[in-house]
Symmetry: C2
Subunit: 210 residues, 2 copies
DNA sequence: GTCTATAGGTTGATAGAC
DNA sequence: GTCTATCAACCTATAGAC
C-alpha cells in the first residue's frame, strides 16, 4: 500500500520478514538493509545494535497482541469461561499476518537462548499471571502446577503452529490449510479446552485402558 | 564414563550439546572443536561440511527414537488404543538426555528453515504415516484433515517441551519440574488424548457456552 | 539523517607438512 | 588422521564527510 515509508519503519519491516524467514542469527544486518533498500549504517543509527533491533522488532508486534488479549479477556466479563479465556489468549496471535508477523513470533517463542530474559520477563510474565488466574477460577479442581503444565502445553500448540506456518501446507500435502484463521482458532481452542478439562492422571493407581 | 573416545564421536557429542544450547547458526565449528578438544580441520575431514555435520548429529539421535517408537507401537498389538499410540510416539523422545539430546531435538523440530527437507522428509514422513493410520483406526469419526491438525498440535506440545526444557523450571518458579520423565509423559498423553477425543466444532452452528 | 569507507573480528573451508 | 597456517568471505559496528 504505502509507497513511501521512513527508514526506521522500512528496517523494522525488513527485519521482521527476514527474522521470521531465516531466524535471528542467520539474518545479517546486510540482509536487512538490502531488503529494506536502505544504507547499512542506518541500522546502527536508528537502533544502535542488532540486539536492540531484535528487541524493537519483537516489541512492535507482541505489545499490540497483549493489549488485544487483555481487551478480549475483559470483554468476556468478570468470570470468562474456559473457551473465552483460551480464545482471548490465542486469537490475537493467530490473527496476525501469516507472511511475516506469525513466523517472527514463532521464532521468538521457540528460541530458548534468550527467551526468558528477552521475551518472557519483558512481555509475557505479567499477562501470563492474569490468564493463569482466570483459568484457575474455571478449573478449581486442577492443582496450580498441573494448570501451569497445561498452559505450557497450550503455548506449545500455538508456538508450533507459528513456527511451521509457512511449511505446514507442504508438510500435509495441502490438507492443513492455515489461511482460514477463524476455523484454525476454533480448532486450537477445542483441542486445548479438552486438554485442560482432562482428569489428571492419578500416579498411585494402575492405569486404566485408554 | 568413557575417558577416551575417537575424534568423530567427540565432535558429534560436542556439536549436539552446543547445537542444543545455542542453535545451529549461532554455533561455529570453532566452538565445537574447542568443546570437543580436537583440531578444527578434523571437522571437515570427518564430516566434509558444517551442513553434513548437522545432518549426522540429527540422524544419530532421531533414528534410535524412531526405532523405539515402532517397537512400542508394535508391542501394543495390532489394535493399540489411543493412549498406547500416543505413548509410543512421545515417550521415546521425552526419555532422552535432558542436557543435550532433548534440546537438540527441540531445535531441530522448531526451525522451519530446513525442517521439511532435512528432518521431515528424511526422518519423519514414513513414521508419521504409520502413526496416522493407527490413530485413524481408533478415531474413525474424525475426518483425516482434522486428525492431522490434532497430530500437529500434539507435536507442538512435544516440541515446545523440548525447546524450553532447559529454562522451564526458571520460567515457572520451579513449579514445573521436567526431571520426572514418567510423570511428564503421562501428563502429555493425558492432555493430548483429551484433545484428540474432543468433538470437532461444527462451523454452521452458533457456538455453545464453553 | 544519510552516505562512504573501513576497522577489527569471525566465519567455513582447504592446502600441505607430518 | 592430525596438525599448522591461511584464504576469501563475511560479520557488526563506527568514524567522519556531506
Amino acid at each position: 500500500m504505502s509507497e513511501k515509508q521512513d527508514t526506521k519503519s522500512r528496517i523494522l519491516d525488513a527485519a521482521e520478514k527476514l527474522f521470521g524467514l531465516k531466524g535471528f542469527d542467520a539474518t545479517s544486518l546486510r540482509d536487512i538493509t538490502a531488503e529494506a533498500q536502505v544504507n547499512l549504517a542506518a541500522v546502527n543509527y536508528h537502533f544502535q545494535s542488532k540486539d536492540s533491533l531484535i528487541d524493537a522488532v519483537i516489541a512492535r508486534r507482541i505489545e499490540p497482541v497483549n493489549r488485544r488479549r487483555m481487551e478480549m479477556l475483559d470483554a468476556a466479563g468478570s468470570h470468562p469461561n474456559l473457551k473465552q479465556i483460551l480464545t482471548a489468549f490465542l486469537a490475537p496471535v493467530l490473527d496476525q499476518d501469516l507472511g511475516s508477523v506469525v513466523p517472527l513470533l514463532g521464532r521468538m517463542m521457540s528460541d530458548p537462548t534468550q527467551f526468558v530474559e528477552k521475551v518472557f520477563r519483558k512481555h509475557l510474565a505479567q499477562i501470563s499471571q492474569r490468564f493463569q488466574e482466570a483459568l484457575q477460577e474455571q478449573l478449581p479442581e486442577l492443582a496450580p502446577a498441573e494448570l501451569l503444565w497445561r498452559t505450557h502445553f497450550t503455548v506449545g500448540v500455538m508456538t508450533h503452529l507459528m513456527s511451521l506456518s509457512q511449511v505446514l501446507p507442504a508438510l500435509t500435502g495441502g490438507l492443513c490449510d492455515i489461511s482460514d484463521r477463524q476455523a484454525l482458532i476454533e480448532r486450537v481452542v477445542t483441542f486445548a479446552a479438552a486438554g485442560y478439562r482432562a482428569r489428571a492422571a492419578e500416579p498411585a493407581l494402575t492405569e486404566g485402558k485408554g
